[in-house]
Every structure is written in structure tokens, then in C-alpha cells.
Amino acid sequence: MIVTSLIRAFHFALQGFWRNIWLSVVTVIILVLTLFSVSMVGGVNVVAREVVSSIENKIDVSVYFNPDVDQQEIQNIQYRFESLRSVDNVTLVSKEEAERRFRERHVNDPEIIQSLDELEENPLGATLVIKAKNIEDYPLILEMLEDPDYAELIENSNFDDNQVITDRLSDIASRVQRIGMLVTGVFVLISILIIFNTIRITIYTHREEIGIMKLVGASNWFIRFPFVLESILYAFIAVLFSMALLYPFVHVVSPYIATLFEGYDFNLLQYFTSHLLSIMLLQLVIAMGLSVISSAVAVGKYLKV
């Protein structure tokens, strides 16, 4: 009996959809626009987050030691920093490695190589590259390096500060997002109004049936359910269309987005396809939420049963 009723409610909902087909089309379009703009905001969010973290990834402190500092001493300092909670990792570039890199860098510069060869000892010191877990942790690390005990050991330290760039990027991203939210808000509002109105009109076109249904003892949920179902149908169709639009869109913009990431592997298209299910689910939740709420209000208001 429940199954039969569900099938009938579904049939009734489909009828509502077809009888006002143009209204249905408009409803779906506005829902698609809403979902699309929500997705854009989400997309900007993802890209911004990835860009910032890709830049943050490049930030580190390089500590250059005097060439005559003992290997053991350097290692002690490495351990000390490694044991800090705010430090992600510390890499040691040994004297030999430093020389190798130096030679590599100046391979086309025989004069420099020659002068290096002439020296008996390796003039280059070892380097420690310290990477913190968060940008905020660097000041502390730098302060520790100021320690007078280290003064004789350390030639200089170099903090590669990309903070300014990341700040600016975050700023732009948040501004884009604020505009996106505003646009989305407007679309959400319009969707609510349109769905509300569509369901109201569907109720009006079905008023004779509804009257008879009441009179012959249809239960309240049986009368109301098709209208809510109809709005759920709009949500489903809208999600399908929005995904169908989003895919080629992401496909087109993905290469441009990739140019924002130098030496950092980020592929928006790949991100999109690997998160396809959750993106779709999220859209469904949003679309359903919008439709069910606005149709329920319309049903409550215009379908006195």
C-alpha cells in the first residue's frame, strides 16, 4: 500500500512537472545557476587554498655554517631543531654536498671552478634548511638562531620570506569569495522565490484534483507529498545539468589554473574528477534543501488540508 501510494505520488509529481513545463524549465535553470555559482565559490576556495599552501611550502630558513664548524656540532643543532614541535623537518646539506652543488651551479664558469680547485680545503660550510609547520612559527626559529652560543658557528641565516605574497593572495581570494558569496546569496534568494511560486502554481492547476482528493479521503501526506516530490525532482535535474556544465568548464579553465602553480603539482580537473561524488552530493544537499524548504512553505501556505 505504501509502495503503491509512493508510485502514485511520483506519477502525480511528474504530472505537475509536465503540465507547467516552461515553469519547470525556468525553475531548473535558476537552480542550475545557483549551484553553478556555489560551485564557483567552492572552486575559488580550493584553488586559493592550494596556491597559498604551495607557496608556504617554499618558505624555509637556511642556516649557513662557517666552514670550520665541526660536523658533530651541526648535527647537534639539527637534532635540537628537529625536536621542536613547531618544526616540520630539518635537512642537512653537508660541506661536500654544498661543494657539489656549487660546482654544478658554476659548471660553465671555469674560472670559479679553477679557483675552487686551487684551494686545499673546501671553503663552503654546511647548511641546515629548517622548515616550520606554520608560517607563524618562523619568528621563534629565527630568534633561537640569534642565540649567542651559535654566533661563532653561523655565518649567516637566510629567511626566504614569501609572507607578503601569500598575504596578498589570501586577500584577493577572500575578496573574490566575498563577491561569490553575494552572487550566490542572490541566486539562492531567487531560487527560493521561484520554487515557491512554481509549487504555488502547480497547486493552483491541481486545485480540482486536490478538492476531490480531500473529499474522498486522501490522507494529508498523500496530498502534500507530490508537491514536495516535484521540487525534489527539480533539484535532481538541476544537479545533473550543473554537473554536466561544470565538467567542460573545469576542463577549459584547468590549464590556466595550473599556471598559477610553479613547481607544484595541482590539476583542477583531476581534483574535480577525484571529488566528483562529494561535489555532486554537496550540490544535491544544497538543491534539495532549497527546494524542499520552499515547496514545504508553499504547500503549508496554499494547501490547507
Binding site: 501510494s5 478538492g211 476531490i212 473529499l215 474522498v216 486522501a218
Partner: protein
């Protein structure tokens, strides 16, 4: 049994449609409710199906006090009372069969059972050959028979008919009344609201006359008074 005890109905702000109505209708009775326009006949019918609530007094159907019936229980009541109201015509886009079946569909009955019950009921009202026609393809009298079939399809114990002969010519009206009489003989209680003097006089059944919201006469085998 239908019982009205001291029932008054005042439509806001102050239209008194019924005033202190006491009325008991026994199972299997055929009662005609007559009276001038605007005296509260339709209101009385609507109280029986809980489309309106009494302002004062008590309405009982069977042993169910529906005076303050909950909204969720109204459908259960409606499936036990067949209703023929003028403003609830057939759905023009459905065939006669589909119109009658609709009443069972919305109550959640299986298709198979609908397919056996509906032709039986359409046969009772004499429409067995016209099941697949649309309302506009049959006469007004036949349309009204289909409406009655729709009201009967739940096998109600009570049938409330408000002006079922309203738009029909004398012959068709007569046929409809004969149909109601037949249904009554099967054991269904009939409450017939009508203006039609000839019909009431011909029926030789109980007649309740209402005037300005009050029952002014109740005769066992009455005639049309006013």
C-alpha cells in the same frame, strides 16, 4: 447513525448558518433536507463530513464524536462517507473509469483491486458501457451517475448528496433519485439535500425542513412544505 445535538454554526464574523439543531438519522434511513436558499442545508452536510466544525453542540457519526476531530483523522471519516457535492465535478482529463478509480487510488488501493471494484460500481449506476468515455462525451445525467459511483466506491455506510439533481432535466433527475433509492435499499444511509419539490413528494421518505438555520419540521413520510 448520524446525531446532531444542539448544533450551531456561526461563520465569522456573525453569519448564523445553523442554530440549535437536534437531529438523529438512523442507519439505513433516507432523509431529505429541504429549505430555502441560504438556510444552512449545505452547512449541515459539511458538518457531517467534517469540512466545517460546529461552533456549539456535538456531531456524532456512528459512535465517533467528530465535533473536534483531528485533521489527521478526517481522511478516515471521509472514506466512510460518500459525498456528492455540486462543486466537485468529474476531472475532465480522466475517463469515467479513471475518475472513479481516482478515489481508490488516493486511498492507496492496489491497481488489481481497483480494476475489479470500479466496473462493479459503474455497473450499479448504469454506466457499464461508458467506462472509457471522457466526461464531455456523456450526458449531464450520466456525469452525475459517475459522481455517485465515485462517492460509492469506498462502500460507505452514509451517502451525502447536496443537490445531486441541480442541473438536470426532470427525467434525468428522476433517474438519479431512483438510483439513490436503489443504493438506499442496499443499506446505505442517504442524506439528500434538495430544492426539488416533486422529488421530495414522490419519495415518501423522511423530510427535514430547515428555515433560517433551524429545524422547523421533521416528518416521517413527509412532503415539501414551503
Amino acid at each position: 447513525m448520524i446525531s446532531f445535538r444542539g448544533v450551531s454554526k456561526i461563520y465569522p464574523p456573525n453569519v448564523t448558518a445553523l442554530k440549535d439543531v437536534d437531529l438523529v438519522i438512523q442507519p439505513g434511513e433516507f432523509v431529505s433536507i429541504v429549505g430555502q436558499s441560504g438556510t444552512g442545508k449545505t452547512t449541515l452536510a459539511k458538518l457531517i463530513i467534517a469540512e466545517q466544525r460546529p461552533t456549539r453542540g456535538k456531531v456524532v457519526i456512528g459512535d465517533w464524536d467528530i465535533t473536534n476531530i483531528k485533521a489527521g483523522e478526517i481522511p478516515i471519516l471521509r472514506r466512510q462517507i460518500g459525498v456528492v457535492f455540486q462543486d466537485f465535478k468529474l476531472l475532465p482529463r480522466k475517463t469515467l473509469f479513471e475518475n472513479v478509480a481516482f478515489a481508490l487510488e488516493v486511498a492507496g488501493m492496489q491497481r488489481k483491486r481497483i480494476a475489479t471494484i470500479v466496473p462493479q460500481v459503474l455497473k450499479i449506476v448504469g454506466l457499464e458501457g461508458k467506462m472509457d468515455r471522457f466526461p464531455r462525451e456523456v450526458s449531464g445525467g450520466e456525469q452525475q451517475r459517475a459522481v455517485i459511483a465515485r462517492a460509492l466506491v469506498h462502500r460507505p455506510k452514509i451517502l451525502v448528496a447536496d443537490e445531486p439533481t441541480g442541473n438536470l432535466d426532470a427525467i434525468n433527475a428522476h433517474d438519479i433519485i431512483e438510483l439513490l433509492r436503489k443504493i438506499n435499499e442496499f443499506g446505505t444511509t442517504i442524506v439528500l439535500v434538495t430544492h426539488n419539490r416533486e422529488i421530495v413528494n414522490m419519495l415518501h421518505k423522511r423530510v427535514v425542513t430547515i428555515d433560517q438555520g433551524m429545524v422547523i419540521s421533521d416528518q416521517k413520510t413527509g412532503r415539501y412544505l414551503l
